[in-house]
Symmetry: C2
Subunit: 565 residues, 2 copies
Amino acid sequence: MQYQAPVDDMMFLIKDVFNLEQRFKGIADFADFDSELYAAILEEAGKFSTNVLQPINRSGDEEGCQYDDGVVTTPKGFKEAYQAYVEGGWQSLTANPQYGGQGLPKALHVLVEEMFYATNTSFCLYGSLTAGAYHLLQAHADDATKDKYLPKLISGEWSGSMCLTEAHAGSDLGILKTKAEPQEDGSYKLSGSKIFITGGEHDMADNIIHLVLARLPDAPAGPKGISLFLVPKFMVNDDGSIGERNAIRCGSIEHKMGIKASSTCVMNMDNATGFIIDGPHQGLRCMFTMMNLERLSIGLQGIGLGEMSYQQAFDYANERLQGRAEGVEGTAPIIRHGDVQRMLKTMQCYTQAGRALAVWLGAWLDEAFHSTDDAVIAKAQNMAALLTPVAKAFFTDIGYEVCTIGQQVFGGHGYVREWGMEQHVRDARIAQIYEGTNGIQALDLIGRKIVANKGAFLSELLTDMRVDIEGFSDSAQKSLLIEQLNGLEDLSYKVVENFSDDHDKQQYIACDYLHFMALSLYAYLWLKMAEAGQDSKRESMEFYFKRLLPRAYGLKKSIENELGL
Amino acid sequence: MQYQAPVDDMMFLIKDVFNLEQRFKGIADFADFDSELYAAILEEAGKFSTNVLQPINRSGDEEGCQYDDGVVTTPKGFKEAYQAYVEGGWQSLTANPQYGGQGLPKALHVLVEEMFYATNTSFCLYGSLTAGAYHLLQAHADDATKDKYLPKLISGEWSGSMCLTEAHAGSDLGILKTKAEPQEDGSYKLSGSKIFITGGEHDMADNIIHLVLARLPDAPAGPKGISLFLVPKFMVNDDGSIGERNAIRCGSIEHKMGIKASSTCVMNMDNATGFIIDGPHQGLRCMFTMMNLERLSIGLQGIGLGEMSYQQAFDYANERLQGRAEGVEGTAPIIRHGDVQRMLKTMQCYTQAGRALAVWLGAWLDEAFHSTDDAVIAKAQNMAALLTPVAKAFFTDIGYEVCTIGQQVFGGHGYVREWGMEQHVRDARIAQIYEGTNGIQALDLIGRKIVANKGAFLSELLTDMRVDIEGFSDSAQKSLLIEQLNGLEDLSYKVVENFSDDHDKQQYIACDYLHFMALSLYAYLWLKMAEAGQDSKRESMEFYFKRLLPRAYGLKKSIENELGL
């Protein structure tokens, strides 16, 4: 089954639902906002997904990455696809034009990322880490470093990796042990071992620029003693040419449940040469500025794989004949059975609402990075901070669920590898774990994004939403939505008022709270899409309110029980 | 991590919660009911699980079954384990003593099955299919056939397979095409191709007895034209010795997401010799008598893998150090974090309630098979009919969810193959699909088990439960439970009264209804366990009512919305 890029639905979001042209009017960087260009980019991204990425997705899963004495070989076809990816300019969409980037909005890029994750999650991860690296350098490196590294990272000629996790330090980075010794020439010698490094080694790019968290000899204990270093696989000469091999080497790769064509590396440093970014002990601060983009990107893995699984399940349900149905002579396609319809509609409603939230969040990120108005920036930063953990965790929890439903539609054929439905499930599963587990996202949401600002971010968001909702036509769903948002607000304030210092209680409810909030936001987005869209959107909206939103009632009750409310 | 058979919890169910000795008093077949013997059997089953099955579980997954020109080779160690399984008498626990069985209660056997599934699901499936075959022959074959085949199937020297599915006929068996031509000697020649045949071919037993659904030349169309045939891999001579190879051959095996050490075969018959069981066109009727046992067995796969995943996650959470916690110097074990506790308690509460439901259902099956009192048999049959689809679907949906949570507790280490947590997820996933997809279970529940008898089975069950609940000590949870069961009853009667002929509506709500009922039954079982047990059971019960039962509220609302109530 060939992937069909949902370009119409995507442009519907950009134009009709969020009217980004209007919204970005005050931003000079987006002065050349051009819907037709954006649609053309999405069309091209769709072709790239279908023609280049999808054909090597299953073979990549079967073959996996191979490790031999420090060298990692990607599956057949990956090198050529990566070359085409670089030549097509797909690495540089949102990067700074000063260094060769295209300066396009994140609100557009999320849709491209969705397509690439949909058709080849393993492949997509290499570029995602490269983008993480260059955005981080854009924000924190000095000019000389930027000039030296950014153009090749932005083009994709070189790739990037983020070396954070150590065997004993995953969610708790504060206890990491990798050491960095200052040298007389201003560089550092790094020693230590990192694990779970996505794209830490591979054969697709000429060089790999590792961004490594480590401790200086005089570093204070804990998270405040972590510094960030740029450690190239090959040293880069002053003229930009590639120099000698640096002492950072891949010790092995992991054998995993999925994303088998993505190399997950143990990276060993033995006096590897590194260069400090943004001064001593600034490591975690630097990482935090990047996290929103990376976390949203991983969220899109959930949306993309959910869309892919949906398209295949929908096609299969139309073709597979089992059982009888009214008005069908002989055996009916299984889509005629109500339970199958319920499954398909569930997949579709979750995926499309997620896509809308991604564009919405992308637009806040665009304002945060590109606006010159301090008030706009401050608000956009708050909204991005609030919505990012929701997007990362809910997109991926639901992505896994949606892929599991898609597999179920195929029955036994969903369990055999041949049809590819089980690969989506295996590939989707990691997104709930890496880039901060979804438990960590939930703690981030309730602790840093709700309690720490006493609910101010949420209030800001709800105020906007309520103004918007005021303009919606009256309906039973509108009343339900107003009630739902009031419930979200009340519950959040009760947490702020009564449990600000009770970290245990916050932990007990964190995941349920995140899901409860996400389901409430999806209700808003569905009504907003129904207002802007055709009958099919209205039908989906009705299904969402009827069948999926009720999940939020159970979550609310569970939270209230835990809090004794 | 070595599996710890939860024998104490199991004996707590047999003795304290359900008091099976008392319950089985009127059944002559269980006159020698002996709690100490049962505990000893469970201890031995635990040792077999830990010493024989668990050690070849991960290697079996890595190696998988190999196919070469019709021959299937099981992974290293499987043949020896199977030999030990046969010699240990593990195949024959519930079988008829007349043919060498041990005649033990199903209510005990479910616990043994749980352990075997927990430690090696792939291995366990071969025996499960053999049991399916011999129970079917016990019920429907003539004496000569029983004498010839049962002793070797019951001992496990020969294994069994159930050949139902064809490429175009899965959930809809009525359209299957395999043909059976009557021969002058009273036998039949079968031709056709079956797919997804678990244990259809392997190298562990001397013979394989296939039970095959096929059509006679004069068969009516649809499900009423299906007959059942015994088709041995090797013909069996009158003296019981093995004769010539029959024309049923394995054409290939599937490459699957999980249960990789279980062979899933395409079985081709080209004029294979078969013997009809129970006369023409009785095939589906025969299968239906077996389905309860097979479906419960597959349900136990969910419970077993959930327990295994829980034990590993619990151990890991006690050992893995990340983050701070009050009262802990330095880095705390992650079990000290509330979100991890929530995950572990969720796993435990679902798994233990499932185990209780399995024993409860097992006892009904025992009464149905072994009582001599017609009233007891009739009621037990009704209860088994009602509870079986709930057990199969909910145990396996929740088993998959629980294994996914267990994997999450491990973070990135849960995603790599090394720790085995991801194998549980992959192995658990199939149980939602085979032996009737969980969607089919839900339709069976609402259509055949609720609507068809106008809610009579449910009423019978609720009447019993209410008498029982009357004796429980007063508590907030008792009131909630009474309310919950009233809600279940009301909703069920509304479906019976208003939607008996509306198959679409039944389909739309079927899965949510099944989960809603299961969560309600689990609430009853938790209160029942808390009444009979220690403080730890009370704590778990409170957690269940506080955090997990609320899920049922959302489901109820979703169903009511769909029905316009």
